[in-house]
Symmetry: C2
Subunit: 318 residues, 2 copies
Amino acid sequence: VAMGEFQLIQRFFDRVPVRRAQLGIGDDCALLEGAPAGQAMAVTTDMLVCGRHFLPSVDPESLGHKALAVNLSDLAAMGATPNSFTLALALPEVDEAWLERFARGLLNLAREADCELVGGDTTRGPLNVCITAIGRVAATIALRRDCARPGDELWVSGELGAAAFAVREAAAGRPLPTEHPAQRRLDWPQPQLALGRALPGLARAAIDLSDGLAGDVGHLIERSGVGVRIDWLAVPLAACLTDEPEAERMRLALSGGDDYELLFSAPVEARVAIEQLADRLDVRLTRIGTVVEGRERVITGRHGERLGDQLGGYDHFG
Amino acid sequence: VAMGEFQLIQRFFDRVPVRRAQLGIGDDCALLEGAPAGQAMAVTTDMLVCGRHFLPSVDPESLGHKALAVNLSDLAAMGATPNSFTLALALPEVDEAWLERFARGLLNLAREADCELVGGDTTRGPLNVCITAIGRVAATIALRRDCARPGDELWVSGELGAAAFAVREAAAGRPLPTEHPAQRRLDWPQPQLALGRALPGLARAAIDLSDGLAGDVGHLIERSGVGVRIDWLAVPLAACLTDEPEAERMRLALSGGDDYELLFSAPVEARVAIEQLADRLDVRLTRIGTVVEGRERVITGRHGERLGDQLGGYDHFG
């Protein structure tokens, strides 16, 4: 929904060459010269707006969780360990019960992730939550978007499409119960922090899946100057997609967004270590394709046929 | 306007003890362990909301400037040197001419202040600008709010009340021309960066004047556990206040806000060095009172009489 239009805005701010930061606009996080011994600071900011990222009826506890989770997911996609965050919050009115629940969701995740709330700003205004999170990562092995190389294998964590399924059902007037796994996936995303922390040194490039696999793969390969071939049958789908027609499964899994899984590229030699990591962390990690030279963006079907045209309508892909 | 109510919100987020940060919620900036050699990272975030912090008719160039300026003012109040910032921006629609001007105001100040835009987020929503700025400061001499000591002298930079004068005139249906010094003060605040950078080692505690002298003095002495005596006749007033009745001069200068000057406490022995600093930087620095033991908050008038009761209506003071 006009995401491309809004990404265009970046060109108004992206024209100043980055001098001081090691990595500026256009990745999951910026990288700043940081603490001792080659550590960089990873910095990311996300703004959640009522009516766009959540409904006015949102459970404030899940909103507090999600507002931090989407930022932690960016840190994970950089391979960074969370350190601290700031919260700016605009509220139409002071509702103590609402704030109590919002703070609970926010601070519970902060505690779990060992990420400290260090400052903030509160003001009256249309409901808006803006969090800036800071993490640390060894600069030379941070998981930038621009480091994928031809020959790398493309991996994805978890299963895709559940959150998009919940969004679709709600939009169609059939909201899922809050306990439905797909609804929980949408409301209570779990950033892949342990995985993100373990990947530097194994993976080369990574991005978190917030806009949908198709768009986010596009970001990664554009920044890396490479192409990609994805095997549609290998893409791990959420269980709730099983009974959907294939075109709908593709739509939900490839362009649905809100999965907050990690997509990463790694050299073939890392395959065994990555499979061992999946076992150790009890996280599903699936090879879904390969990085290739050139600008090719292909998704192949059951018989090896190109399905790329079906992605033509999605921003940044096909 | 219900500022106190919104500051109450902090108690929902302030109950987690700070462990990792050197300084957490409640100061101009948080202080995080930072770059090599005793440097801390100062982090601050401010959210500007349409209808509250600016009017829909705002000149986008001045809005871009001001959104960054208020954050740089927090860095100055910490004694920090600006390093980088992130921008989160919600916009009702993509208006290229508007964005062009907003970006110009923002990036011109960024260049002047040598503060690099390193990341951001843009989304559709009611107009909202949230900036998080990061600076560096030697941790041991950072200008915290909680370091004022009895016997310190209280200093303020510049002159107070101009921005509040412009706000009053606009609210009364008599908006000042954009070139009026008071209107420029409101629209184009100039953060006291050079002063802030020079004060660590001379001053003990500092805060920037965003809510008005009365409220901001209150923050400083509360955090320091001290009292204060201010000499009203010493308070430097903006020229546009000259013809106002004294009660109105007090209201504008003491509780008007938006001055973005620095208020700081310093030991008596630093007086000469501070006066030399004022000459060197060509900044007016005025002694307006003293820090005292206990909880006393007194403002004295022409004949030494207490004017404190006139401040009773203001949050955090009197």
